[in-house]
Symmetry: D2
């Protein structure tokens, strides 16, 4: 991430997945060796060596990578399709194009904006969309466009059309950084890029609205946050990251919320960073995080 | 706990609770000062200074405490009943009499036996009861009686009668250290001492049986354990302590179980220690832990 | 903290310390009861019930507190001086006046500014002083004055005079939020308010400069941060709060630094919050944190 | 670990290390593919893709492994020696032969004995040696030989000769589970197997004796434990694992010790498990833990 520009341009990430079988690692690394690429790091996982699902993330260096992508893809197609594997080839020099949706709460949003400013996450935040105008000044202060799209009662479909006009084709990832509206299955399908949400509880505990009040009522001794991919089923998508913080009888619900905010912003920022570094692979309703 | 015997004999714990109102701390501490007791530590909590519930735990030193209990109780009755408060007066020199119920899994049991041997928890484990004979040698190796009470299919009522014969009047606390049978409301009522259970998940996530398999299926990134008082509603009693440990896609369900075991034994041992030190006060379906 | 203004105005904090002896809690709470104050919370600690040092923090409600301070002080003087105790009486409605000194790194500074904006810490940040101009825009964006006081080689004494002109009489607390200059004993003495520093390691490991490089060289598996009061001895002052985060062989020194930054800002913010709520009492080279 | 015996017999671990260069992963995986082995998991690390040190741990399945070791070694010799790499080939079915040295404290010892009984760590504890007789019954209760070798004042050299007679040739790993004697450089050299020690502090803080007292005196807010390989320099060897637990002003030194004991046993057990699974590779004074 702190590489000289020239070097970063020659770095690539190769994500391979499919049915496990003998010789996959050898095949992938042989293709890379054949074209002259050097493996920088390699992570691999199999759900079961006998008949399981196989996942591999390889980071490599190849001199002149940008001009040699087609060549590399042809080699991969040849060797990997024979093994029934699918793959994704990513240039490390290209940051993910990200949009953030948010309501009124600023802690997750500001943490992401601040990390982008520091170059901590390989992403470009190209816009922030909110159903409230409150956070416009903060966002624009970072030099990032802010769009206020109010959601009228019974007007969700209209608002989502507006969202799609702004987002469609422009982004690789949508982040819901405490966006307090449920989004429709049609929107998810139509947008067709991964969506990461932060839920303010340790899922699957306290699904749905008001988790801090529920946590207070149940008298739990730890509260948590969960970053997950969004699917049609509310709070049921594949979990990317979770963390917790200790609480006691002393804290009021408002204080739980405050402590929780610190965990939420960290969990979301970690999940977004890992996604943008292509470390997260979906496996049904679970994730492999390398 | 590591006090010279003489000193420990003069230590008491006073637990006060009731409706909050002005002057409670002053009243309690004045009674203690009046009889010549010195406050060693004092913890106090109010759910709401205006109309909430009040809780106080005071540890004190009073020369010749064992012979002056009646005198102290008379003073407390006078002052505290006027304020509508209830109290509990405990001699620190008297360890809690504890029984443990267990099935086949030994990690929670052994941790408690080991801590008792080291004097880490102010308790006397007077017996261990199991529905399986497997752990008998381990228990007796610690010099503690072990009773094997099998539970036949449809024979729970009979077994519980047997349990009550062993336990009734003999213990101050029952600990379910991975006892894999549901106990009846009648048993809880009839036994009439607090019962602490360890549940092998971070409640309220994964209530009921097979929590590690459920955690694996849901793809969580942390697994946990919960120690709680037992009520008629399975896994719904007041939580005393919880903790978690990080896991990833790498672990199998069996490995989650092993990691979980380390958390379970710690969480249960902490909960039992705090209970035996009179640090835990029930407040409806929640606990105050001082 | 989220109280109606009227209510907050009637809240006070009473910090009592001195040699332990019988009846202190009773005396303090009796004084409060006598004037009609209601105890909201009380924390108490004795280093040793026989001849140790005693510490107590009491939060109370007294109708019309601002107009009754003198009366309360007279009562406290009478009863507490007889016991050889010193005390501090604080109105909760008065936030601490805070200045922040910083160099070029912004994470600790921004976290404090953001928490002040959200009302999370009872403080007013009245100015930020830096030996570099870089963070001026950020600070002024929060509506807070920023003073750039360069420190020339051999010019520390001059700069410190400038600092004292700005600070003396204007603040209750100075926070060094990654201020990369050693401050002199004369400055500390002359300023005469508490100073909190964040050190970017788990003290006493890696005292002095370059702790992340030292941590990398030693191959530690956790890195940490420490917030402490500043004394003349570099990194040797009383510790208020510490925390750690897990690392491995994978991280470079630069990545340790980034992970560490997240811990630093949390540890410093917690320490400042606790100080501003009068929860931290110095006890020689240690702290009692209620 | 819970494999059917047949399957486990066919599993191997291959540890490769040396100067980094292009094509190492491809070479290793090609050798394995050539002989028909299937890679189960692969971890790889380079300290620097340009001119750094390279480490790889590969777990694989090869039908009939025990009878094909020579064949596999010949292939590895051919391909890897050309690349200037050294390697270690281990059969997973062979548990490490382990001896434990201990003084009077039992918590680390019992945790290891218990985990061996449960098959949690692929090791056989073949003996326990102590300079005190106290723990003999406990050890023999697990069916493991216990040797009492007293260390007279100025008698260390004699005792170490006795130790070497017992250990030399019989073990693959020596674990110091709170053995309170300094061992000599001659002993380390002569024994010539890895030695793991548990130090009861978060190194490099509180090197040497009495770390809990030092931690209390310094007023730290976390205490820790460190498992490391033993070198001639006391407490300076490569760190394998560390962890911490939160403490406060409330705990006495004795209570720090008790809390610390829980961390010690966990940290040591993890380090021993990882070592026995060949996950830990020494890299100068650091470790790579896969």
């Amino acid at each position: 991430m702190n590489l000289p520009a020239q070097d970063a341009a020659d770095r690539g990430r190769l994500i391979v997945q499919g049915a496990d079988g003998p010789g996959i690692v050898a095949s992938v690394s042989s293709v890379l060796a054949r074209v002259g690429a050097n493996i920088i790091s390699l992570d691999q996982h199999s759900t079961d060596p006998a008949g399981g699902r196989f996942f591999q993330r390889t980071m490599f260096h190849l001199d002149g990578l940008p001009g040699r992508l087609t060549e590399l893809e042809e080699e991969l197609d040849k060797d990997l399709s024979a093994l029934g594997l699918s793959y994704r080839l990513v240039e490390a020099r290209k940051p993910k194009r990200v949009a953030i949706m948010v309501s009124k709460t600023d802690h997750c949003l500001l943490d992401l904006l601040w990390r982008q400013r520091h170059g901590e996450i390989p992403m470009n935040i190209s816009m922030v969309i909110s159903n409230h105008p409150d956070l416009g000044d903060d966002v624009r202060g970072f030099g990032i466009p802010f769009f206020h799209v109010p959601v009228a009662k019974d007007g969700k479909a209209v608002a989502e059309q507006e969202h799609l006009k702004l987002l469609k084709g422009n982004i690789d990832l949508l982040v819901l950084a405490r966006y307090m509206q449920i989004i429709s299955g049609e929107f998810i399908e139509e947008l067709d890029v991964p969506i990461i949400n932060i839920h303010h509880s340790f899922l699957p505990a306290f699904i749905g609205a008001g988790p801090y009040q529920k946590a207070k009522d149940r008298g739990v001794k730890l509260i948590g946050a969960t970053a997950h991919y969004v699917t049609e089923d509310l709070d049921e998508g594949p979990i990317i990251e979770q963390d917790v913080v200790r609480v006691s009888h002393v804290q009021t619900t408002a204080q739980l919320q405050r402590r929780g905010a610190d965990v939420e912003r960290q969990v979301l920022s970690r999940a977004v960073a890992w996604h943008c570094e292509d470390r997260v692979i979906r496996d049904g309703n679970q994730t492999v995080v390398f």
